[in-house]
């Protein structure tokens, strides 16, 4: 795996966003989910054909200023400020889970800024018919079972791992809780911030990628999104859960890469 560089942007209102960046080519902004950002093989592979810029949500990693971001609207403004600071006129967005919700909100707010959107099991809608379970109230084993198709896979084991040393364990747990707390700011108590009222403003061609066995955000939501977005298509991968891009990486890369296409700026 290549080592991404860390680049920080100072934004208005005492907010600073730290990003991981790697690659060459058309810019793709990867917006991570409620578990936080890690540079993983999926992002690495993407960076072979794109410039991947992955911002840490304020309140996670080295990004600061969460206390100055009150709600989803403030968060969208923050990402607009970030795009100004990065300096690209038009970008592609890839959003996973909560990151998908943010990507859609950003695209709805400023459609001219976004070329294409790949939403991987995005959050943002809530239906009582197929509710998203309360992942903040799950014990670790239960949460993993809701995140991955195969709880005995190396990925699942990696996600459950914890340091042995006491001090490291304490720091690790605190980091996990800090990331959850930042995500909870935008997802609590139900992950619905009203995106349904704005979906029609998502003008960019949109791909929705879903794991067929996603137990966290059920695949039924794909149709709910498709109904609201003017130009959207769905791709479903079998034997994959909520972490589809890591559980079935080859297929995911093919679909997302094919959708984003070569650099055509």
């Amino acid at each position: 795996m290549s080592q991404p560089i860390v680049k920080e942007y100072a934004l208005p209102r005492d907010i600073a966003i730290s990003t991981l960046q790697a690659g060459k080519g058309a810019p793709v902004i990867f917006i991570h989910g409620a578990g936080g950002l890690m540079w993983d093989p999926f992002l690495d592979a993407l960076s072979e054909r794109h410039t991947v810029i992955a911002p840490f949500l304020p309140g996670t990693g080295a990004s600061r200023g969460l206390e100055n971001i009150r709600d989803m609207w403030d968060l969208v403004v923050t990402y607009q400020d970030l795009l100004d600071a990065i300096g690209h006129d038009k970008v592609d967005l890839i959003g996973h889970s909560m990151g998908g919700m943010i990507a859609f909100e950003l695209a709805a707010a400023e459609s001219s800024r976004v070329r294409k959107i790949a939403a991987i099991a995005p959050a943002g809608l809530f239906s009582e018919d197929h509710p998203i379970p309360d992942f903040f109230a799950m014990l670790p084993e239960d949460l993993i079972a809701h995140l991955v198709y195969d709880k005995d896979s190396p990925l699942a084991k990696l996600m459950m791992a914890m340091p042995d040393d006491l001090e490291e364990k304490v720091s690790f747990i605190i980091e996990r809780m800090t990331i959850s707390a930042a995500a909870a700011k935008f997802l609590w108590p139900i992950p619905d911030r009203g995106l349904k009222r704005r979906l029609h403003r998502v003008k960019a061609p949109t791909l929705m990628l879903w794991g067929k066995q996603d137990r966290l955000i059920p695949v039924a939501y794909a149709e709910d999104f498709k109904r609201g977005i003017p130009d959207a298509r769905i791709e479903i991968i079998d034997r994959a859960g909520h972490m589809v891009q890591l559980e079935q990486m080859e297929q995911s890369l093919k679909i997302v890469g094919g959708f984003l296409g070569p650099d055509r700026r």
Partner: protein, 407 residues
């Protein structure tokens, strides 16, 4: 104020006594009986001459049956107004849950006026179960909402003119609450806390009395009270013991052996059922700050077996419960000695007595209260190590010579 009829296998069958405890387990006819027995007990406490009788707030909970403590407080207010020695304590309103927070200012002012100024208002932040999971408050906003609510309530109580409040969470064009409280500048405020380090500063800086409310008694309370006094010293506050309080399960009987016969099963009901909480509910992400987490996590991971685990796995016998101070139980002499020892050790002048525990039936609670009031309390008052301190900054002026204990 628990529901006393949970099934014997409750904690095996259901994941939590709080938040998701099945409503179908509550029998309103039983609930009717329980409410009035508990009110009888609290009124008895007034007759016994306790310094205060108290109610608190919990939601969706089978061990705390008062989602609205102010309703219960209002029932007791009619008797408190004639009580020479007893205050009404609402400990308290989770102020961030009241929308708008002026509701707290209004209702507590009503209680203050109804009791003739014998009212103490508590402002807990509230448990994560109550605030984040039952009432949906975003954990990231909890403390901020609490601070803003506090600011608004104090201003509402003390402002002579109507004012506008353009807050982050509450916007009101005209704040002008009626009635005005009887106490000046406002009712005494107590802060019940669970060990968040931010709460110490808040209580000390505002000169509110801080009470550590855990169910694990005085030995365990040291972990919180020692840092509290440390912080008080750092902030230049005096060591007035009435600045602090703690909660204690108390079981008085004729002899130490008799106390076990009388009370053990009810204490076990309490610890095995009433504290059976689905662990993620205890701590929504962001409910506790990194500072508080760090302070607590190390100890929690390190201790071979936490208090709750020991209790859950039934590894503590009656003497074990007493040795650890989870319950102070025994003859009047035993209870008196333990309590004096605890008061000195914690420098806590206010003791929140939990005379009813778990499944304790009405007649036993009355026995417990009467024995405490007649055979322990006088000795505690007589032998109080805190006689030279003035409790009046923390107790209503309408009560003369307020002393150590509370219920």
């Amino acid at each position: 104020m628990p529901y006393r009829n949970l099934p014997p296998d409750f904690e095996q069958r259901y994941p939590s006594v709080w938040v998701t405890v099945p409503r179908t387990l509550y029998d309103p006819a039983e609930g009717h009986r329980l409410y009035h027995q508990y009110l009888d007990e609290l009124e008895y406490g007034i007759d016994c001459g306790y310094d205060a009788v108290g109610v608190n707030e919990h939601h969706q909970n089978a061990y705390g049956l008062m989602p609205s403590p102010n309703l219960m407080g209002s029932i007791l207010a009619r008797k408190v107004r004639h009580a020479p020695n007893t205050a009404l304590m609402v400990l308290g309103n989770s102020i961030a849950l009241y929308n708008p927070p002026v509701r707290v200012a209004e209702e507590m002012a009503m209680l203050d006026v109804l009791t003739g100024g014998k009212f103490i208002g508590g402002f807990p932040v509230g448990t994560s179960m109550d605030t984040n999971f039952c009432y949906g408050v975003n954990p990231a906003e909890m403390r901020d909402r609490y601070n803003e609510a506090h600011e608004l309530i104090i201003k509402a109580w003390t402002s002579e003119e109507p004012f506008t409040f353009n807050g982050k969470y509450t916007q009101l064009r005209y704040v002008n609450t009626w009635p005005r409280p009887m106490q000046t500048p406002h009712p005494r405020i107590w802060i019940p806390g669970g060990g968040s380090v931010e709460t110490y500063d808040f209580a000390i800086n505002n000169n509110y009395s801080f009470s550590y409310l855990s169910f694990f008694g005085y030995r365990y309370a040291k972990k919180v009270m020692d840092p509290f006094w440390q912080r008080a010293r750092e902030l230049g506050a005096d060591m007035n013991p009435y600045r602090a309080g703690y909660a204690q399960l108390i079981c008085v009987s004729e002899t130490d052996a008799r106390a076990q016969t009388d009370y053990e099963q009810h204490v076990r009901y309490f610890f095995s059922k009433c504290l059976h909480i689905h662990p993620p509910f205890l701590d929504a992400p962001g409910y506790r700050t990194p500072a508080t987490l760090r302070a607590g996590l190390r100890a929690q991971i390190q201790s071979a077996e936490s208090a709750t685990t020991l209790l859950k796995e039934g590894k503590l016998d009656w003497n074990g419960l007493i040795e650890r101070g989870f319950v102070v139980a025994g003859s009047p002499a035993t209870v008196r000695d333990r309590m004096l020892e605890a008061a000195r050790d914690l420098n806590a002048g206010n003791i929140l007595l939990l005379n009813h525990v778990g499944s304790m039936p009405h007649h036993l609670t009355l026995k417990n209260m009467q024995m405490f009031a007649e055979e322990v309390m006088p000795a505690l008052r007589r032998e109080s190590p805190f006689a030279k301190w003035d409790s009046s900054p923390y107790w209503p002026a309408a009560l003369s010579g307020a002393r150590a204990q509370g219920v």
